[in-house]
């Protein structure tokens, strides 16, 4: 193998598993260390720079970082990254003075942003400090989009949304609430330099079975729309028997909300087995903990409506399997079941619709009704129009919407400055030795054996009394510190300098996880097999040094390295050094 090029920022970035997995590439270990040091405001700002909504994401993020966490590969459970994020939001001081200054003299460009969800607000946040003038249009009365309308308050209190959307609106965005854009053509005629569409994926899918017409949209409702009505307090109670159809997070939100609005008998019905549910495991656990039954392998057949009143729903029991080509097969068993209900909430996916974008504006659409959008630049086929969030590629999650908002903001900035959009700016990186003295590091190199901490919940009886009472209490300072200490500091990289190495074996002898080997060089597959413990996790890179004096190379398997620094501590010549690698994802900058 060729010697590893650690100058390529992506090599060390990939070692920081959590940050690499995060769509917005938030420098996770950096803010976790700040939490451990009690510097909550600084930790909050690292998050805010990167993911814009730390308080919101600290409660609701899909947390792709956690399955990626290295701790999960050596210990049972990853670091509770998401809940630590909430800690810095909960415990910070007033951070207003740390927010970027908005220039009084504008740069002359005027943007329209449609929608006030995570991607739209991210574009505004990124471009306001550069002097853009921004008009923002939102159909409802408040900012937040999906975050406000479809995530129930018991998971995400409205104050948190108000605070974090407020930081952006207060930058001087010309926000027009209760203003639904009905015609893209009319909007574009107003002469905006660019338009960003962040309208989300507002429509949930209907399920038109026999009986649907008889109900006439009264008691068979699309879950996300129902959740929005609850959020805006248009719906304050539910009938006794409620059925939720679907196995995603929205289904979990629907059933738990229904329980809080007075339903006595809430059931979740799935076409699939529970094992095939797409909801996050922790959401399923929380739902079951509240005593809501989840019935599997029930395929809906009919709404039973008598005298205009929904009475029950008929299901066919199916046998679920996956065929050779990986497709789901729902084989009827011939058995049927009728379940009483007065309200059905459909949470079977969301559909996109852009009836308000005229088809003659140069914005091309795909067969499934989405605009054709470049997945790197987020530009549509009309170069002035950009898409992001769920409006771009369909329903994903908040952190993806934020990441797409960043990319769209970069593109808009480059587009208006006449630059090639495909030549994306580089990330900024910094590599700094953590050596404080002989055998001393400026980070906590000891690896704690502390187990993952659970977030305390309020009492169940109290929880289901109100849909506004937040269920999770968040970590206190002591628990946060203990959980923060579990972070392995993967961003403190093991940096090897081949010409300093005297091949004394000290690092190899001390390495607790046997990830280092001196060996003769060969092709990657063979090299991986030849290591002291073979490097079988192909998802993790191996580092190969330049040739050493004996002709061998130093090979490091990054897979389970604990970043404990013992190799560098036992190295007599400092050929190994522990250096902190800070990777800041690219963003639009003042030039």
């Amino acid at each position: 193998m060729k010697p590893t090029d650690t100058k390529n920022p992506e090599y060390f970035h990939k070692v920081v598993d959590c940050q690499y997995a995060c769509p917005a590439h938030t420098p996770v270990p950096e803010y976790i260390r700040l939490i451990a040091a009690g510097k909550y405001s600084e930790a909050y700002m690292i998050n805010w720079e990167s993911n814009v909504f730390p308080g919101i994401l600290g409660r609701t993020c899909d947390r792709p970082c956690e399955p990626a966490c290295r701790r999960g590969r050596i210990d049972e459970k990853p670091v509770a990254i998401c809940r630590l994020k909430r800690v810095c939001a909960d415990m910070k001081d007033d951070i207003k003075s740390m927010l970027p200054k908005i220039p009084k003299n504008k740069n002359g460009f005027k943007l329209a942003i449609i929608g006030a969800g995570p991607s739209a607000l991210t574009v505004a946040r990124d471009l306001m400090p550069l002097g853009y003038e921004i008009d923002l249009f939102e159909a409802t009365s408040k900012a937040g989009g999906f975050m406000r309308q479809q995530i129930p308050s018991f998971r995400l209190p409205a104050e948190v949304i108000d605070e974090e959307t407020g930081y952006i609106l207060d930058m001087g965005v010309n926000a027009h609430f209760n203003t639904r854009i009905e015609s893209m053509k009319d909007l574009m005629a107003k002469g905006y330099d660019a338009v960003f569409v962040g309208t989300g994926a507002p429509t949930g899918r209907q399920l038109k079975l026999p009986g649907f017409e008889l109900d006439n949209g009264k008691n068979v409702q699309v879950g996300v729309e129902w959740l929005a009505q609850v959020a805006f307090e248009h719906v304050t109670e539910t009938p006794k028997d409620v059925i939720v159809i679907g196995g995603g997070n929205t289904a979990m939100d629907c059933c738990r909300t229904a329980l809080r609005l007075g339903a006595k008998n809430v059931k979740v019905l799935l076409r699939t087995p529970i094992s095939a549910m797409v909801a996050s495991p922790w959401e399923i656990e929380d739902t079951q903990a509240e005593g809501i039954p989840i019935l599997e392998n029930h395929s809906p057949l009919e709404y039973i409506v008598e005298d205009g009143q929904l009475k029950a729903m008929r299901f066919e029991l199916i046998e679920y399997s996956i065929d050779d080509e990986g497709r789901e097969v729902f084989a009827p068993t011939g058995k049927e079941e009728t379940i009483d209900c007065n309200l059905v909430l459909l949470a079977i996916g969301q559909a996109n619709a852009f009836p308000w974008i005229e088809r003659d504006l140069g914005i091309e659409f795909t067969k499934i009704g989405l605009a054709k959008v470049d997945d790197v630049t987020f530009q549509s086929t009309n170069p002035k129009v950009f898409f992001g969030g769920d409006a771009a590629f369909g329903p994903k999650n908040i952190i993806t919407a934020v990441a797409q908002g960043h990319q769209a903001a970069i593109s808009i900035d480059m587009f208006l400055k006449g630059e090639e959009l495909i030549e994306r700016p580089d990330p900024s990186t910094n590599l700094l030795s953590q050596k404080m003295g002989i055998h001393e590091w400026s980070y906590a190199s000891m690896v704690t054996e502390e187990k993952r901490h659970l977030v305390p919940h309020i009492d169940l009886d109290e929880a289901i009394n109100s849909h506004k009472t937040e269920v999770e209490l968040g970590f206190d300072a002591k628990t946060a510190l203990e959980e923060a200490e579990r972070c392995l500091n993967c961003d403190v990289e093991t940096v090897f300098t081949a010409d300093k190495c005297i091949e004394c074996d000290a690092c190899i002898d001390i390495c607790p996880v046997d990830c280092l080997t001196f060996t003769s060089n060969s092709e990657e597959a063979e090299l991986r097999r030849n290591l002291n413990v073979p490097a079988l996790n192909l998802g993790q890179p191996i580092f190969v040094s330049d040739h050493l004096k004996t002709g061998r190379v130093m090979v490091k398997d990054e897979d389970v390295c604990l970043h404990c620094g013992l190799c560098a501590e036992r190295c007599p010549t400092s050929a190994w050094d522990m250096q902190k690698f800070l990777y800041i994802a690219p963003k639009p900058v003042k030039r």
Partner: protein, 350 residues
Amino acid sequence: MSYKIPTFRHPNLPKNDLGYTSKDYEGAVSTLCAGCGHDSISAAIIDAVFEMSIPPHRVAKLSGIGCSSKTPTYFLGNSHGFNSVHGRMPSVATGANMANRDLLYIGVSGDGDTASIGMGQFVHAVRRNVNMVYICENNGVYGLTKGQDSATTDIGSTSKKGEPNALEPIDLCSIALQLGATFVANSFSGDKDQLVPIIQAAIAHKGFAFINVISPCVTFNNVPGSTKAYDYIRQHMASTNTVDYVPFAEEITAEFEEGTDEKVTMHDGSIINLHKLEMKHDIHSRRSALKLVQEYKAQDKVVTGILFMDEHSQEIHETMNTAKRPLRDLGTKELCPGAASLEELNNLHR
């Protein structure tokens, strides 16, 4: 400074026949200087004992005083240990071995502990053919007293401070050979591929197995003028043979080359597969081994590998016709057979 190693280990760490991983053979974190050759030897001992699936509680590690003699703390943390007086490890090992012949005895010593203060002890352990592995971690310097030349420092070799050494060095392998040692090897701490199978062969050997391991002192004796520095040894090392240790009942998978390979069957049925690089040398000939050491020395080279072995050697228990079982397994009747038995014994010699 870290005083503790994280407890996490690689999830795919191999297990030996006893179901142990190498972690079960580790000791405390070394407090020696970073990069000390001795730590590599500790690691080689761990590897050797782990691979041979020796239960840790069947091993006794013994040492004297010095940097080298501190190392038993850093390996085989679940084994028996005895840190004796400076240079007196051979006596303690001999006594322990006399009392319990069933344990594996690994003595660790240094050039000061062996070639200076302990020379009088060392030579008698060799002479008696005590059944043990004796590893001399030889760095040619008194590290613990801050870098004076030792009795094994070569003429003209310089350490970090001071004059080139003017006195003739003691060659421990030659001395062991001359005293009738039944297994003599020379190796280098920086070459585990060679050292681990040599330690395994020494463990399989019945009788006194002496391994001199050149082990650079990074703090005082890893300088350009030293003949025991990493660079010097790497440039001047010449192997007489490479070794594969094949445990009893395991199929020999190493390639056997006619003419250059030699199989030696040990008393426990295990096999030492020697790949001879120096064709003139016969490892069963003491004279050939002595000649080899001298010839290489004359060329400024350090010869490594197994220099001599006598797999049919008679260890001290056999020579003395002692009890076949450890003393602790004998009853009072056998240990104190009474006045009549003593009288009978005395009469034999009247």
